[in-house]
């Protein structure tokens, strides 16, 4: 009952005209960049981060979160119509979405992915409402050692469970942790790795790093590949969108399974939506009595991953807000944004900042309903967006990156750093080194060091404290299992080619 009262209070916060406006702004912007291939939601969130510094924390978070889940709605559009994912998690939707579009069923595919997104998102929000306070209550007893261990687990999971070489992921996480050390050590006041550059004494600017690694590197990669695909003159009308009875039948259970898988994966620290969609797809295929239909336009093949995608995105707020441990790079940027506002996510957030927590949760509901409206009757508008040529898009994004990074500290050195990180990210990505673990390591670096130090102080410098506390021990054991597994396996089985077979 108390939960419902708190949720009611949250709705009061989220239904003010201002909050509604920022929610609408966030989800529209999210859908916009989600639809367009070549601009990721991380770039957009990092771009908007400096804008939110002028806002109340609640309004800022509502908008940033709206971009994140709005982008998941939009990203399936390009997958279905162009066979190009609008963002990484939507890659799997290409497998059956594009064949549906070739069969003249694009409208139905768009309808199904939108409904699946809505159901997946709603399911995870329900979980967030009832489970997050419980988890927060449990986490209130976490000690510094426990936090250290869960962060180590999150970083290990994020770098070993993603697509590609787990060892390269781990190397990038370590590099990110090192970058997180740059700046003034809070305990001794010692400048570390600042090389006499004043702009570095407060540490590397998160926005500069994120924009470089994702924004600039993305543009370099797209331009290097030559052409970003463009839509033909597709016209989708509301009439073409109605699924048949058979479609509904296929949709029902796969959507529910996708929601459950997505919510579960999203809650785990260190696992993002990409893993959730791959697992949902693989699961559907295994359960299906007609697995040969997958890849030929099976409704299950788009319903489950899209539900999982949105469920994982909403569920990812559970560990981020209640433990302060982000699940993926995007949540890490959002965590960074909260820290700038002086809000430290953790178990206390749910009680001490109850208005903020419940306001954000309530805004998720509102945002998802807005997205349903934006994506069903207005789908034609978003499809038209696909015809914006990339030759106009990338100069505009580059311009926004420059002015956006500059505006954080009014400092041109930050923009130069962005270029440096962009070039670095571009080359490292080309050689199979992923950027997301680096960003996660960067955000968690100072927190990990602080908790490690605090744990040792609390235990009179006894290293055994990390294995003597049962919670910490469990996290460390899980980390060890992950490490052994990924070293033994050498290359991830979670890649696309394996999901297809």
């Amino acid at each position: 009952m108390e939960t419902l009262n708190l949720l009611g209070m949250g709705f009061e916060q989220a239904l003010t005209p201002e909050a509604l406006m920022f929610c609408l702004l966030g989800v529209s912007l999210g859908t916009f960049i989600g639809v367009l291939p070549g601009i990721g939601s991380l770039t957009t969130i990092a771009l908007c981060l400096p804008l939110t510094f002028h806002l109340e924390p609640l309004l800022g978070l509502i908008m940033l979160a709206g971009i994140f889940y709005g982008a998941q709605y939009g990203s399936s559009t390009a997958s279905i119509l162009l066979n190009v994912p609008g963002s990484a998690p939507a890659a799997i939707t290409c497998l059956d979405g594009y064949p549906m579009s070739r069969q003249g069923r694009a409208g139905i595919a768009l309808f199904i992915t939108t409904i699946a997104s809505f159901i997946g998102g709603s399911f995870a929000i329900l979980l967030l409402v009832f489970f997050a306070p419980v988890l927060a209550g449990f986490a209130i007893s976490f000690s510094a050692a426990d936090y250290f261990s869960i962060m180590i687990l999150a970083l290990t999971a994020a770098s070993t469970l993603s697509v590609g070489s787990p060892m390269k992921g781990l190397a990038m996480v370590t590099f990110g942790l090192l970058l997180g050390m740059v700046g003034t050590d809070i305990n001794s006041g010692q400048f570390r790795f600042t090389f006499g550059i004043p702009a570095l004494t407060d540490g590397i600017n998160l926005v500069a790093l994120a924009m470089g690694l994702f924004g600039v590197a993305e543009i370099l990669n797209n331009l290097n590949e030559g052409k970003v695909p463009q839509a033909g003159k597709e016209k989708i009308t509301f009439k073409q969108m109605m699924p048949t009875r058979d479609d509904w039948k296929a949709f029902r259970y796969s959507c529910m399974r996708g929601s459950v898988i997505g919510s579960f994966i999203g809650m785990l620290p260190g696992t993002g939506p990409t893993i959730a969609t791959f697992m949902a797809y693989a699961g559907e295929k295994k359960l299906s009595s007609t697995p040969e239909k997958f890849g030929q336009g099976a409704v299950e093949g788009i319903a489950a991953p899209e539900a999982a995608n949105n469920a994982s995105v909403q569920a990812a707020f559970i560990p981020t807000l209640t433990l302060g441990v982000p699940g993926d790079a995007i949540m890490a940027v959002m965590l960074g944004g909260l820290l700038v506002h002086g809000i430290i996510p953790g178990p206390q957030l749910v009680t001490t900042d109850a208005a903020l927590f419940w306001g954000v949760v309530a805004s998720f509901w509102i945002g998802n309903v807005l997205l349903l409206i934006l994506n069903l009757p207005m789908i034609g508008l978003w499809v038209k967006l696909l015809s914006i040529p990339y030759r106009f898009l990338f100069p505009a994004v580059l311009f926004l990156i420059c002015i956006g990074v500059y505006s954080v500290n009014n400092n041109a050195v930050d923009v130069l750093l962005t270029l440096g990180f962009g070039v670095m990210g571009f080359f490292l990505n080309r050689h199979g080194f992923p950027s997301a673990p680096l960003l996660l390591g960067f955000v968690l670096g100072p927190l990990i060091e602080e908790n490690f130090r605090r744990a040792l102080v609390l235990s009179d410098s006894n290293l055994a404290t990390f294995v003597q506390r049962p919670i910490s021990l469990v996290f460390l054991l899980l980390t060890a299992i992950l490490l052994v597994y990924s070293f033994w396996r050498k290359n991830s089985t979670n890649n696309l080619s394996q999901a297809q077979t």
């Binding site: 060892m167 370590t174 001794s188 100069p395 080194f433 080619s497």
Partner: protein
């Protein structure tokens, strides 16, 4: 020599550079107070991380020596050969902003930046690019300078 460079050295270069970064970080950390487990100094964590990074890079070179070039964005795992033109254009574009924003003013910086970025295209269409540049500069000025108070002057 060039063949050796292209086939052997180039693919491992990123790993080697990362290892070198770890090594440099570890050595630099020694110039800070490292301390001990009982009393961690500011150099302790960076030193540990530097060592781990070097070890991981060694592991990569040992276990995945061929280091095939793969991009995460390409579903087929194919890597497009490196093209100088877009790379140089994007770099020049950002550099122009860095150099001009505080010296030549917002509009000059923005227009140069957008125009230079268009050089990334094989056949830039200058008329539309200039229109885009002026539109972006005006909109950016209204939002960031007038509205958000970024201290940049319009001209010089």
């Amino acid at each position: 020599m060039t063949r050796f460079f292209k086939q052997q050295l180039l693919p491992t270069l990123p790993t080697l550079l990362l290892a070198l970064t770890g090594l440099a970080a570890g050595i630099t950390a020694f110039t800070y107070d490292v301390g001990s487990f009982t009393d961690m100094g500011p150099g302790f964590f960076p030193l540990a991380l530097g060592i781990i990074l070097v070890l991981l890079c060694a592991l990569i070179l040992w276990r995945e020596p061929e280091a095939p070039e793969t991009t995460s964005s390409d579903e087929k795992g194919a890597v497009h050969p490196f093209a100088w033109r877009p790379f140089a254009a994007v770099s020049a574009s950002i550099l122009a902003w860095v150099l001009l924003a505080e010296t030549a003013g917002f509009f000059a910086a923005a227009i140069c930046q957008v125009a230079l970025s268009a050089l990334a295209l094989p056949e830039p269409r200058w008329r539309s690019i200039i229109i885009l540049a002026v539109l972006l500069a005006t909109g950016g000025y209204l939002l960031f300078v007038m509205q958000l108070g970024v201290p940049l002057s319009a001209i010089g």
